[in-house]
């Protein structure tokens, strides 16, 4: 009897401990998505009269602007993820393998510091630097690289810069962890057996760091794909970011059904790309999340 009571008590404790997470999952993720799914499958035939249909999804295919934006967002996000990886890898290598003691924690904090400022302010900071009357164009003119101040905002490259800047920390942290766990003597052994920098990177370091790379890439890719502020502010009207389309449908057009359909398409797209990336590099999602 007592053992049974204790069993009930521990189960109750478990449920109570999990309750906030369950409420959060159910209330903020599952329920709204169910509602969005229902919304996206309705179409209005008359005021206050709705019918089930795939119309909203059909609009997406029929209207080139939508799926162009969609493909563009995906490609830009992949590109931003790749750039972030290229920039973060040497930084993570330095933090994990070369820096010692205080230097290491200082470098980590340096990566973190930009996050003490809100994303809006950070992005506005980029605008102050890059706009036509801003700091960088003025310097370019001053040192004779340009005759008149160039407009550096509203280019794809500018969006990329902003996205990479926002994402670097999320790549550096898992990469540093992955590289820290790599035994230095493996690198020395490979070198001793005749390996060179490139072959060691390819055959020893990258296979070891693969779960960290995958985890960082997934996080960065998701953040980038779902980013709204950076592409909108730095890319202006040219940004053509898919989240912007969703925003427009919901807020400007008040077309919730279309917005919901776009939201679902974005979810499917991101899942498909992550799955494809993991499959191409021969990894499993569970492994990646466990090892990084």
């Amino acid at each position: 009897m007592r053992a049974e009571a204790a069993g009930h008590a521990s189960r109750l404790a478990l449920v109570l401990l999990l309750a906030p997470a369950l409420v959060w999952l159910l209330g903020l993720i599952v329920l709204p998505h169910v509602d969005l799914a229902i919304l996206s499958l309705r179409t209005r035939v008359a005021p206050r009269v709705y019918e089930w249909s795939f119309d909203k999804y059909r609009t997406f295919i029929d209207e080139p602007l939508y799926w162009h934006t969609f493909v563009r967002t995906a490609l830009m996000s992949i590109l931003a993820t790749a750039c972030t990886l290229l920039i973060a890898f040497p930084a993570a290598w330095y933090i994990a393998k070369i820096a010692r003691g205080r230097a290491r924690s200082t470098l980590f904090i340096l990566c973190l510091i930009p996050f003490w400022v809100s994303e809006t302010v950070r992005t506005l900071g980029w605008m102050i630097l890059l706009r036509e009357s801003g700091v960088v164009p003025a310097l370019l003119v001053r040192f004779g690289f340009a005759a008149t101040p160039p407009e550096l905002l509203y280019h794809d490259a500018t969006i990329l810069v902003g996205l990479v800047y926002t994402s670097v920390l999320f790549m550096v942290v898992p990469l540093t962890n992955a590289l820290e766990s790599l035994d230095d003597s493996l690198i020395e052994a490979a070198y001793d057996l005749g390996g060179n920098a490139w072959s060691i990177l390819r055959q020893i370091v990258l296979p070891h760091a693969a779960p960290g790379i995958a985890a960082g890439s997934i996080v960065v890719f998701m953040l980038t794909l779902g980013n709204y502020l950076t592409p909108t502010l730095l890319g202006g009207k040219n940004s053509l970011w898919f989240t912007e389309q969703i925003y427009t449908q919901f807020i400007t057009r008040f077309n919730w059904e279309q917005g919901a359909a776009f939201g679902f398409l974005l979810l499917v797209l991101s899942t498909a790309i992550v799955w494809l990336g993991l499959t191409l590099t021969g990894q499993r999602f569970g492994d990646v999340m466990r090892r990084s």
Binding site: A189, A190, L193, G194, G195
Partner: protein, 367 residues
Amino acid sequence: MQQDLEVDGVTKRFGAHVAVDKLSFAVAHGSFFSILGPSGCGKTTLLRMIAGFIAPDAGDVRIGGKSMRDVLPNRRPVNMVFQHLALFPMMSVGENVGYGLARRGVAAATIRERVATMLKRVGLPGAEGKRIDQLSGGQKQRVAIARSLVLEPTLLLLDEPLGALDLKLREHMKIELKQLQADFGTTFVYITHDQSEALVLSDHVAVMSNGRFEQVGTPQELYYAPRTPFVAGFVGANNRLEGSATRIDGDMVELRSKHGLTVRAKRTGAINAGDTVAAFVRPEIVSLARDAGELADGMQVLRGRVHSLLFDGANSAVLVDERSTNAQFHIALPQTGRFADLRAGEDIAFGFDPERAVCFGTSADAR
């Protein structure tokens, strides 16, 4: 005889600390050479300089007669077995062993063939497809050695490869290592802090302390004829007695300790009357007797009380406190079982042949 490794006046400093101090030695082709020393004596630094991971501040390393100055580790005819073996966990056993050959651009078919031959020679035929984590400690050891030897290096460096193994396996791998070295005939340079490994495995042992070699010799020379107090104290067990030389009689020194114990021992190096000296008496040269009359003539006879018994099978010993000065002696028990009934607190006589005890002057350099 051809020298596979010549180290010539090599020095390495880390800041003010001299890790390796103007060291010179040579290792003959096909021999098993050990560098024995306590941690921090500079042996790892020395090994890493031979492998090429650290550049010496002064001096030169020659391997197979060629100077290795400015030759990178991946271009040296030297391979290393790391302390924790450093097998590549992301590769199979076959890929590990074939790694070096692949890096040299050997054809895939040849690699397969040589890997198979090598695995057979180390007693792991057909293990190519196994993952590293499927191997036992001893098998990993063999793969690590195979991975290096398949490249046919002039010299194989081993950095305490048995350190991480448990005692039983370590004893077993000691024998296996010695057999592997004899089979392959490759020159091995082995570093360790474990004197038993060094004595069992090596043709020659260098005892290292504070960046210098104290003595280089065969295991027997180090054990029976240590040339410095450090070697006498570090290699094998020893009873150390300190005091001053009261009388010199040819090769024999009479030592009187602070507490008044007087013993005689054989002189090593120059000693004058009045010098501070240290005498070393091996546990196994001391004989025990319940009756002092049983001890042989010419023995230095002392009396004492059994402090404690240290039973360890064939290595059993007893700690005896000398009666007048309380100086403690570590004495090996005879394996005949004659003193199996010895108990703590018992009074006993013991003695040793002074010719077999060694005495060093310690005033010149306080080591």
